[in-house]
């Protein structure tokens, strides 16, 4: 039971990390209807630019600030040079364009900041919290807890920003209906630039967390692949959905990784590690069977 709890909590906390990446997807999808496949590459770019700036001698806070500037500029440039040209194209074309964007970043980022894997030290240690270990005998990493706290803070900030600021209201209006928003005088292109800037910021936070945890390396781009089933489960348009979906995926994949291989081994023989790689997708497929629009997604009505 104790072991089960440990796996479960470990899974939930890593789910928070997935949710951080998924959040970036949701923001852009909500505001512009673009499914941004490049979010994972943006996480990579953000983490690399922090590390790159630190190598040039900048302190951590300055490096983060510089990375934020880079991500914002990059987001604005993306909007200006790619998405604005693709207005009125089918969503699939936009999706494929973001795949191209992902490759673009994956080529550009290592050329700017170097491709060798590096460590990113945020000053938080990845070790179990002694108090909890003594009291219940469960290992919970300090780092994971901080990551969860950061995610909670980020979601709260974003929720408040969306709910109470002028720009937030405009963002929600654009998300509801581009045309209507335009007709009441909301500058669509500014809003999109802002959204891409915010998505860059979310990517930066995710990049800091993931980079500190696993090192800054090319594998960071694969975080996007983990975030896709999270989105399917949570729904593409819902911020709470991204969090809940992340938790479900994180917990279930860790549990599957621990508990499924022995069962399969007794059935077929052989070694069945690495279930983590596909389990979230199959789980997402089953969710699609029951709720095609995700747990918190909006129901989509087709008109001819």
């Amino acid at each position: 039971m104790q072991f089960f709890l440990e796996v479960l909590i470990g899974g939930l906390l890593s789910g928070v990390m997935y949710a951080l990446v998924a959040l970036g997807f949701v923001l852009i999808y909500k505001a512009s209807g673009v499914f941004n496949f490049a979010q994972g590459a943006m996480v990579y770019l953000a983490a690399l630019s922090v590390v790159g700036c630190m190598e040039k001698g900048a302190p951590l806070w300055l490096a983060i600030l510089l990375a934020f500037v880079i991500m914002t500029l990059f987001g604005i440039a993306t909007e200006k040079f790619v998405l604005r040209k693709l207005v009125n194209q089918p969503p699939i074309a936009l999706f494929m364009a973001t795949i191209g964007l992902a490759f673009f970043i994956e080529g550009l980022a290592p050329m700017l900041f170097g491709s060798e894997p590096r460590a990113l030290d945020l000053g938080i240690v990845d070790e179990p919290i002694p108090a909890i270990l003594d009291a219940w005998g469960i290992v919970i990493s300090k780092f994971d807890l901080v990551a969860a706290g950061v995610a909670a803070l980020l979601v709260t900030t974003l929720a408040l920003f969306f709910q109470y600021t002028r720009i937030g209201r405009a963002l929600r209006a654009v998300a509801d209906d581009h045309q209507a928003a335009l007709s009441i005088g909301i500058p669509l292109q500014h809003i999109w630039a802002i959204v891409w800037g915010i998505a860059g910021f979310v990517a930066l936070v995710a990049g800091l967390m993931w980079g500190a945890r696993n090192g800054v390396q090319f594998a960071l781009t694969f975080t996007a692949l983990k975030a896709l089933p999270v989105l399917i489960i949570g729904g593409f348009t819902s911020v709470p959905g991204a969090i809940v979906g992340g938790l479900i995926i994180g917990a279930s994949e860790k549990l599957a990784e621990i508990y499924l291989p022995p069962v399969m081994q007794s059935l077929f023989g052989g070694n069945f590690g690495g279930i983590e790689g596909w389990f979230p997708y199959v789980l997402a497929l089953f969710f699609l069977l029951i709720r095609p629009e995700g747990l918190f997604g909006e129901k989509h009505i087709d008109r001819v």
């Binding site: 499914f35 999706f95 494929m96 191209g100 080529g107 596909w278 199959v282 699609l288 001819v304």
Partner: protein, 358 residues
């Protein structure tokens, strides 16, 4: 002037319905086939066959398969490499486990196996579409590769799932040299490309395009969505499966599941974006472009670096390659969403009026 249909009258239904209605097209196709079957085998070197021509044909076939699914039926798939893997492993197992089965029959069976798997993973397309479906096909990508690695039966208990393709023997003749393998691949690809060209103008193909353009409207005018979509998945996976079998048997000789990675799926997707979605010719143009670009860059970039005096390492060259791929994808989507095939079409229009344009 050169390319004009004036004076070509159709006097029978058969003439009206032929695959290439314009005489210049017919001659052009015959010339291409003649060059491919007669001229190239006579002049090309071994390197050309095994490093450029065979992979080009195989990837054209895979791109053709994906084009049927994505370009014609409008169902985005990110799992084409996995279906190729199914084809490769199925062909290997048919050869291994059924005594004396002809190689072409096992290729066909490999295609059918891939088609079956394709239908299975195409089932979600009945209630989801767009990127939801793209994510569902990602499930196929990861799950199939994992299965092939972890279940030792598929690779006949070899370590880490590597298989070595058996010899190719047809009617007692062994296809061993790259030239013979090239001719075998070329024949299969030519037949399947013609079949695809025919298929997309049949009622099936028109139904696919109707579903692509708007599936609700297609349903309203009486196209049954389920069989149409599943057939698209089946045919597409069949093509990818045969391509996978050829990839293992005629190109690499021995393959492992991890070779059929997500990266390869993306490359096939790029082929149809750059070549032209919804075009048979586009699959070939795209495959040629995507395969030749890295080779060209490998040769050109170090020279350019030498001229400019920049230190280019191998890593930089591969980064530039990735960067260029990404840029090209965005460029084509923005400037010419119908790809190279569309450029060819524009060229034909121009040729029609040349040398006296309006």
């Amino acid at each position: 002037m050169i390319y004009r249909e004036a004076g070509q009258f159709k006097t029978s239904y058969a003439a009206d319905q032929q695959l290439f209605p314009i005489r210049q097209d017919r001659i052009g196709v015959l010339i291409v086939l003649a060059v491919a079957f007669l001229a190239i085998p006579a002049v090309a070197s071994e390197y050309w066959f095994s490093a450029i021509l065979i992979p080009f044909l195989i990837f054209s076939l895979a791109a053709l398969g994906l084009n049927i699914l994505t370009g014609y039926a409008g169902q985005l798939s990110l799992g084409s490499a996995a279906f190729m893997a199914v084809g490769a492993y199925a062909a290997y197992n048919f050869q291994l486990r059924i005594e004396g089965i002809p190689i072409l029959v096992s290729f066909a069976c490999a295609g059918l196996t891939a088609a079956g798997v394709g239908i299975l993973f195409g089932l979600p397309s009945l209630w989801i579409k767009g990127f939801y479906l793209a994510v569902a096909t990602l499930a196929a990508q990861f799950f199939i590769v994992w299965c092939l690695t972890k279940f030792p039966w598929f690779s006949n208990h070899s370590s880490s799932g590597v298989i070595s393709a058996q010899k190719i023997v047809i009617f007692g003749h062994e296809f061993a040299s790259p030239r013979e393998k090239y001719l075998l691949v070329l024949t299969l690809v030519a037949v399947m490309a013609l079949a695809a060209k025919n298929m997309v103008r049949s009622s099936t193909g028109r139904a696919w395009m109707a579903v692509r353009d708007m599936d609700v409207a297609a349903e309203v005018i009486g196209i049954r969505l389920m069989p149409t979509k599943l057939l698209a998945f089946a045919v597409s996976s069949f093509y990818c499966g045969v391509a996978g079998a050829l990839y293992a048997f005629c190109y690499l000789g021995s393959v492992e599941p991890d070779g059929f990675s997500l990266d390869m799926s993306f490359r096939i997707l790029f082929m149809i974006i750059i070549g032209g979605a919804g075009s048979i010719l586009g699959s070939f143009l795209g495959a040629a472009f995507i395969l030749l670009l890295p080779i060209f860059l490998d040769i050109a970039l170090p020279r350019m670096a030498g001229l400019l005096g920049l230190p280019f390492s191998n890593a930089t060259v591969s980064h530039i390659q990735i960067l260029l791929f990404g840029t090209l994808i965005m460029f084509f989507l923005i400037v010419e969403p119908h790809g190279l095939a569309r450029l060819w079409q524009i060229g034909k229009e121009k040729l029609r009026l040349w040398p006296f344009p309006h």
